[in-house]
Symmetry: C2
Subunit: 213 residues, 2 copies
Amino acid sequence: MARKTGSHSDITGPRVRAAALKLFAAHGFAAVSMRQIAAEVGVQAGALYLYTPDKQSLLFDLLRDHMQDVLDGWAAVEKPEGPVMQLEAFTRFHIRFHLERPEQVFISYMELRNLEPDNFKALEEMRREYENALEAILIAGQDEGLFDVDDTKLTTLALISMLNGVTSWYKPDGRLTLGRVEAIYSDMAGKAVRMPRWKERKMRKATQEEPAE
Amino acid sequence: MARKTGSHSDITGPRVRAAALKLFAAHGFAAVSMRQIAAEVGVQAGALYLYTPDKQSLLFDLLRDHMQDVLDGWAAVEKPEGPVMQLEAFTRFHIRFHLERPEQVFISYMELRNLEPDNFKALEEMRREYENALEAILIAGQDEGLFDVDDTKLTTLALISMLNGVTSWYKPDGRLTLGRVEAIYSDMAGKAVRMPRWKERKMRKATQEEPAE
DNA sequence: GTCTATAAGGGGATAGAC
DNA sequence: GTCTATCCCCTTATAGAC
């Protein structure tokens, strides 16, 4: 069908979101004006309101879509056997996935506070779901005697913080390849939670000495 | 000496900075107006310019003073013997010091991008100096064969990210005491970088077999 | 679908009275 | 040292022409 001259709703919408993402990441939500976004897209400010009800929705849509991508991404990973391998799979997935989306990741933790209360709650719930995926691995490893974790919730948060840190310094053309960064981080994460061999032996011995209980 | 009525420069200055800190931490630098800061202090907007040349200086002073506090704080810590104990001292210092200043820490990494280029460079230099203090410990441990670190720079950044994460969830009246959080984190950090016993033995053996080199 | 024009208000910073 | 008043610019969002 012939389209009316100047009709671009199918491509302008995504371009508005892309411009918002780029500018929010670079200067911060509060510092970016609708006029700047419009200029980046190449339209006038008023035209933006054909694609978003307001500035807040623009931010929320970006954050929600990103968190959904993260959850879907991890769900799509083929899970290996056992907590040790699953922890490695998780750390490698997390690092690779996050380094592929630096802007989304950046605004996802910088601009949470600019969400209105209801939007904030929705995001927190999605974030918690992702954290639970990691904690489940730690709990399983704990139960099988493979991990020595003091507090699974705290350790979950500590590991995610550590992994997130990579986004603040990694440069694709830098000294280290993505695969090498994945390997180093996943190794550190593993060492930080795995049961030491001497402790493992001691525990096995203790179990054998008290087989009834 | 008698002071003129309404003269409060010695106390209003600090109150302006305290109000700015509180509001920047709560809503973000770009989202806070000079009028809001003035209202928090209890003066009119114009009066703020007696204590700061502009809004940017208000932010820079807060960030610079905080980083200087961090550097001075670590310099004042009595250093124990050996990299293992020094790593524990560093992690415990970092966590305690940062948890005592949640607002300063928060704006120090959230508002860096709102600094003008020269101010940003000055802060980056101070941050790097602090990172170097940790990296020096890792390098010493590496040289003495006590740590098994793949890349000291990357590991430094990973550890600091992990430690910083604590500020995003710790609540003073929560489930865990400060001392316990310090212990858990310092334990995780130690395990993540220390040479495993089996590897240590293997290396010692290899060294004995080649005493000349 | 995009534009121009405008409403209604807030922003940083300064001048000058007291 | 603090106030009021003001300058001038920018903000989000909407109305209506094309």
